[in-house]
């Protein structure tokens, strides 16, 4: 174990979360996930693994899907973050959330916020994904309850409705 380094100082980090400008005094290496959950009480984003494998911590950062457990908060300085609370408040993912309900895509619900973020991001990049596309692009979000089928069905349902319009 190396000799202990002097503790570093907190620094100022400013970003937008769910449309709201926020400035915090935090340690630069706090994980974005922890800042969201503890400083901002946005507990909808979950920790499942702490290693970027399960996707439960997925958020949008400048429109891009990322695992917030792997982002030092200082790297989010100046960014625009959207969490499940934001999507819900702005009804942006309403169709998707409704489809999740109708198709039984949420069982225990712990992977669901991350899954909805990932699906939302997928549909924003590819409004008419094939089932293969959906399966591939959700592969970074692990679910232990559903076996994925009803989740894929929910996303496909929204994609089809999107096509109809």
């Amino acid at each position: 174990m190396s000799e202990s380094s002097p503790p570093s100082a907190r620094c100022e980090v400013s970003f937008t979360v769910n449309g709201q400008a926020t400035t915090l005094q935090v340690y630069a290496m706090e994980r974005l996930l922890d800042v969201l959950r503890h400083e901002l009480s946005l507990t909808g984003t979950k920790e499942g693994c702490g290693e970027g494998e399960c996707g439960s911590c997925s958020v949008l950062m400048d429109g891009t899907l990322v695992n917030s457990c792997l982002i030092p908060v200082l790297q989010a300085n100046g960014a625009s973050i959207v969490t499940i609370e934001g999507l819900t408040a702005k009804s942006e993912a309403q169709e998707l959330q409704q489809a999740f309900l109708e198709c039984g895509a949420a069982q225990c619900g712990i992977c669901t916020p991350g899954m909805i973020l990932a699906a939302f991001h997928l549909l924003s990049k590819k409004p008419q994904p094939s089932v293969e596309d959906i399966r591939e692009r959700l592969a970074g979000n692990l679910c232990r309850c559903t076996g994925y089928m009803q989740i894929v069905e929910a996303v496909a349902k929204v994609a089809r409705c999107g096509a109809a319009r």
Binding site: T43, A106, Q107, I110, R144, C145
Partner: protein, 761 residues
């Protein structure tokens, strides 16, 4: 009274809105004022005596709350079947990761370093890690002979069958440990108040298990312990008994510090320290006629329980009872035992012993078929249990089950015969070797034998001031749909709207003990009680003249409001009574083991890749008879989820052990299937009403875990022609076996492999 068909339709999940919006509250989402965080100091060795515990000099220990065995007010144990498992190891450790000390601090970031700063000196003792090692008794680590429990099931005359058999088929089958891998790690918050006592909130399946354990640990009476379930992010049995341990830890820290304490495991700790599916070894020796009929046999079923008894006797029981599967055994002797090793105790995981013994049996059936020279389909047809016949425990099958027909339907749905022919032809030309395999099986719902009677489950329904009714049960929701289905049942029973029924949070202060949420019992057993209690509510309102024999939902709500206004909140209670025909002899382990069986035939289609030896499951048909399907989407979701866990059990999920410690305790290295790894799982139901369950329902939660592993491995064997008798079956194992076969073929100068059985004549 007009039923709007609530039962049998896919109503919205009761708590679904909260789950899709991020509002659902899991234990780590909750904070209490002044809360501290807790962490656990754990053993780094598998077995030894603690000589000294050293606290590193770099840490400001005075800021920490430190709890050791001497701080335990009551008994240092996690009370379960036995009291042998300590809450904190006291002088002796028996498995890696065993808890030694507890720390708490207001800043959670300071804990990991503090934990690392505590070093323990041990006098190591030789440790054992395998069933075979335990059996040698070179080291006796538990009791007199390392044996937690044995069962003997005997039927007919086993000695006689060997004489008349045309074939005697032997086989040994093993299954490895499996991690439940709920996506939400274990967590608890505890608070202590001298007046109110201990309150814990957490991720859990069985509030009353924890209640009982904390009473003993803290030396507190029942009304001074309160357990509250938070939204729970997956459990699968992994939160049946383990939460009592983490609740105990949080409680001790809360008592010592006088502050609320939260303990949340990270993934590495959860994987390494908590329970896993029991590894198993099954040995079959079966006497068979030349037509493939089973005359009888001996089954030796052994599971590795880890270092303490915990629930091993119950897992053993279920595994032993299921060891004969869906077939008729005129004579059988099943010897079952659970042995001790220096591993973290193994525990409940969906299926609870049955996936282990059924894997062995269904592999063995294919083996018997091969020896006798008939097909995998025929061997099953000729041995299926029929209505009126008895199981291995001599339980008479009373329902009108037709497994032959179920098998036919599964074969048709999967295109089995056409595919089998097609694959045989294709395999000659193509490199990818395709195969198709079957598993036929059953799963008993509810507690075994007199278990339900001993539980004496109790439920209550409350009439509320707003005219709605409220269900009070200790049965918990953790994704399987408990809340939704129980509300459906009550709504349907009373002729109310689904929205007119609510269900209380599982809080031991508020709800009666309806038993643990395990054993696929909730809908069948608790649902039936809830139905009964609902009728009681209706009777009360009728008796008071507020409703007649026929009424609308609006009438009911009005009547309920009036009743509460006049007399205050009113309750209807229902308590479990064992049905007369469920008779069980605990001594001889004979009789009606379960109130109901669900039946299934699964068919798996695979391709074995000749370049990578990897297996892809290309199609999967899951056909089951589960009584009445109360909620199609939930039922389908349960089956698909269980099948995927079963596929994981077969092909992906390997626990890598070193000296009793899990080495691959990260999601990067403990592999479960992703959405890109699976075919569509095709789920179909047959419905045969069950008189014991609410609206004819049987349990379904665990059934889908039993079939996939043997179906998949049978398919792999069909594809490559090498017998595989273990799961998990990794590409590396397939490669090694193919190598061996190639090597021995060149040795023998032929393509014949070693004979599979001793022929009697």
């Amino acid at each position: 009274m007009n039923n709007s068909n609530i039962v049998g339709t896919s109503v919205p999940r009761l708590e679904g809105r909260d789950k899709i919006s991020g509002k659902a509250r899991y234990v780590d989402d909750m904070e209490l004022p002044d809360m501290m965080y807790g962490a656990t100091v754990r053993s780094k060795i598998a077995r030894g005596k603690i000589k000294r515990i050293n606290f590193g000099s770099d840490i400001h220990w005075q800021e920490f709350v430190i709890v050791g065995p001497s701080d335990i007010p009551g008994k240092n144990c996690i009370a379960l079947i036995d009291d042998d498992q300590p809450c904190l190891a006291d002088g002796v450790v028996n498995h890696p990761e065993e808890p030694l000390l507890l720390l708490a601090h207001p800043d959670r970031h300071l804990l990991p370093k503090a934990v690392e700063a505590i070093s323990v000196e041990y006098d190591s003792l030789p440790a054992i890690h395998k069933i075979e090692e335990s059996e040698t008794l070179a080291q006796v680590i538990w009791g007199a002979d390392n044996t937690f429990k044995t069962y003997l099931i005997e039927k007919g005359d086993v000695e006689a069958v060997w004489q008349t058999a045309d074939y005697i088929v032997e086989g040994e089958y093993t299954t490895g440990a499996q991690e439940q891998l709920y996506i939400e790690n274990n967590g608890m918050i505890a608070q202590f108040d001298a007046e109110k006592g201990i309150t814990v909130w957490g991720s859990l399946q069985c509030p009353y298990y924890i209640h009982k354990a904390l009473m003993k640990l803290c030396g507190l009476p029942a009304d001074k312990v309160r357990v509250v379930q938070m939204e729970t992010g997956g459990a699968f049995g992994g939160k049946e008994e383990y939460p009592s341990m983490i609740a105990a830890h949080a409680a001790l820290l809360a008592m010592k510090s006088g502050k609320p304490v939260k303990i949340i495991y990270d993934r590495m700790e959860d994987m390494a320290a908590t329970t896993k599916r029991h590894p198993s070894r099954t040995r079959h020796r079966t006497a068979v006629t030349k037509n493939g009929r089973i005359l009888g046999g001996e089954i030796e079923f052994t599971i590795d329980g880890g270092a303490y008894k915990t629930l091993s006797p119950v897992v053993l029981s279920r595994g032993a009872i299921h060891a004969g599967g869906a077939y008729y055994w005129p004579s059988v002797r099943i010897r079952a035992k659970a042995v001790a090793t220096n591993m973290p105790p193994h525990g409940a995981f969906r299926g609870f012993g049955a996936p282990q013994s059924l894997f062995a049996l269904e592999r063995h059936m294919d083996r018997i078929a091969e020896v006798v020279g008939i097909s995998a389909v025929e061997i099953r047809r000729r041995n299926f249990l029929k209505t009126g016949q008895t199981t291995t425990t001599e339980q008479v099958i009373r329902e009108e089950i037709d497994l032959d027909k179920l098998l036919d339907r599964a074969l048709e749905l999967s295109g089995y015969h056409v595919k089998r022919e097609k694959f045989a032809a294709e395999n000659r030309h193509n490199r990818g070797r395709k195969g198709i395999g079957i598993a036929a099986f059953l799963h008993g719902a509810g507690f075994t034998g007199s278990g339900e009677r001993h539980l004496g489950s109790s439920v209550a329904i409350e009439g509320c001031a707003d005219g709605r009714v409220r269900i009070l049960v200790s049965s918990t929701e953790f994704g399987q749909g408990t809340k939704t289905v129980l509300c459906q049942i009550v709504a349907e029973t009373l002729g109310l709207r689904y929205e007119d029924v609510e269900i209380a949070q599982a809080d031991t202060q508020e709800v009666p003990n309806s038993g643990p949420t395990v054993a696929s019992r909730t809908v069948m057993v608790v649902g039936k009680l809830v139905q009964s209690a609902a009728s009681g509510i209706r009777e009360t309102l009728k008796a008071s003249g507020k409703i007649g024999d026929s009424y609308s939902a609006e009438d009911f709500r009005k009547a309920c409001r009036a009743q509460v206004q006049e007399h205050g909140k009113f309750l209807s209670i229902a308590k479990y009574e064992q049905p007369d025909e469920v008779v069980w002899d605990e001594e001889k382990y004979r009789g009606s083991a379960y109130a109901a069986f669900a039946w299934a035939v699964y068919v798996a289609e695979v391709t074995v890749d000749p370049v990578t030896y990897g297996v892809s499951v290309d199609d999967f048909v899951a056909l089951q008879e589960v009584g009445k399907v109360l909620h199609p989407a939930l039922a389908e979701g349960q089956i698909i989820g269980g099948v995927v866990q079963g596929i994981g059990f077969a092909l992906y999920e390997k626990v890598v052990w070193k000296s009793g410690r899990m080495q691959n305790g990260q999601m990067t290295n403990y592999i479960i299937p992703t959405s890109a790894d699976l075919p569509s799982i095709r789920v179909h139901f047959e419905e045969l009403g069950n008189v014991h369950g609410a609206y004819g329902a049987k349990g379904i939660g665990e059934l889908p875990m039993d079939g996939p592993a043997p179906a998949v491995v049978n398919a792999i064997v069909d594809a490559v022609g090498v017998p595989f008798n273990s799961v998990p079956l990794m590409p590396e194992d397939i490669f090694d076996s193919l190598q061996q076969r190639a090597a021995s073929a060149s040795l023998l100068g032929s393509s014949q492999s070693a004979p599979l059985a001793r022929e009697k004549r």
